[in-house]
Symmetry: C2
Subunit: 199 residues, 2 copies
Amino acid sequence: MESNPQPVNRLIEQFRKLPGVGRKGAQRMAFYLLSLPQEEGLAFAEAVADACSGVKRCSVCCNLSTDDICPICSSPKRDRKLVCAVETPEDLMAIERGGGFRGTYHILGGALSPIDDVGPDDLNIAQLLRRVSEDGVEEVILATNSNVEGEATALYISKLLKPLGVRATRLASGLPVGSNLQYADSVTLQKAIDGRQEL
Amino acid sequence: MESNPQPVNRLIEQFRKLPGVGRKGAQRMAFYLLSLPQEEGLAFAEAVADACSGVKRCSVCCNLSTDDICPICSSPKRDRKLVCAVETPEDLMAIERGGGFRGTYHILGGALSPIDDVGPDDLNIAQLLRRVSEDGVEEVILATNSNVEGEATALYISKLLKPLGVRATRLASGLPVGSNLQYADSVTLQKAIDGRQEL
């Protein structure tokens, strides 16, 4: 590393901070950027700076937004009485990709996890409860991940929502579409049996 | 993607350009950067901009450098009559990590590859030849990779060096230290036999 100029080492260190990037990967990324024409490298830097300084949180749903209220929350086509609470903006993207959901969202910012020291105050739960009481929300779909932390978070929030007289629902568990029954794990299969639907 | 603010999508696109980063990885990196405190994100942007604008090529060896001549080329402890020609700055780093080499380097900037449309003029070969004639270089170690492109590049350059009366050498091929003979591939094993050393 001592053979590198200081700015190059600093760049490698910054890349190492990214999720899923190790020492070798960070080096490769840094040297790749430096091999590009200077204006492309600077365009990269600008994109990072723009995103980090220009993007804030929607004051309603806590999603990333350049405006005070994000396009989904301010859209007249969206049903603000139906709120889908997800852990991250990536989860929102996954649901939006389907294109079938016409409600609004709420980004929790993660899931409860005592091991990682994430408690209720670290999530955007207070904002969700305020929204429910103030906006006349009728149903909150607790679309947290289907793992221990996600289930616990959904259960925790549903208990807070009940006294407010709002429906709290959970995404259905079952077989992924196109999947093969014989390869499904037994917990998923049991959930699919429990949640069977009338034809 | 349309659910994201424009700067976020631009950031994801920029991350996708990096080697070894796909759509999912780029998303993860972008959202991770946006989840950091703003000053950390801006520090990342600054590191990229600094490296891209402040780092140039050493006028002697073509390595990355903040100065006109890099620390290795300007060091009085380094033997400028012994030049190790490598493909990339990463290769230089790998040799420097060992700490045993006391000569100087020359970064070729890649290897000859007709398929990728890389010819002799795309590499820093002319600079190497100039250096050899002007600086009284006595030996050039052609430390290109041990693959088809690397071997062809070494052979090509060695033919250009011969008329200049300079020694052209190649790194030894053989068994990696600590490796198991039974798992070595047959070409490596043959090279190790051909290059056997007196004890």
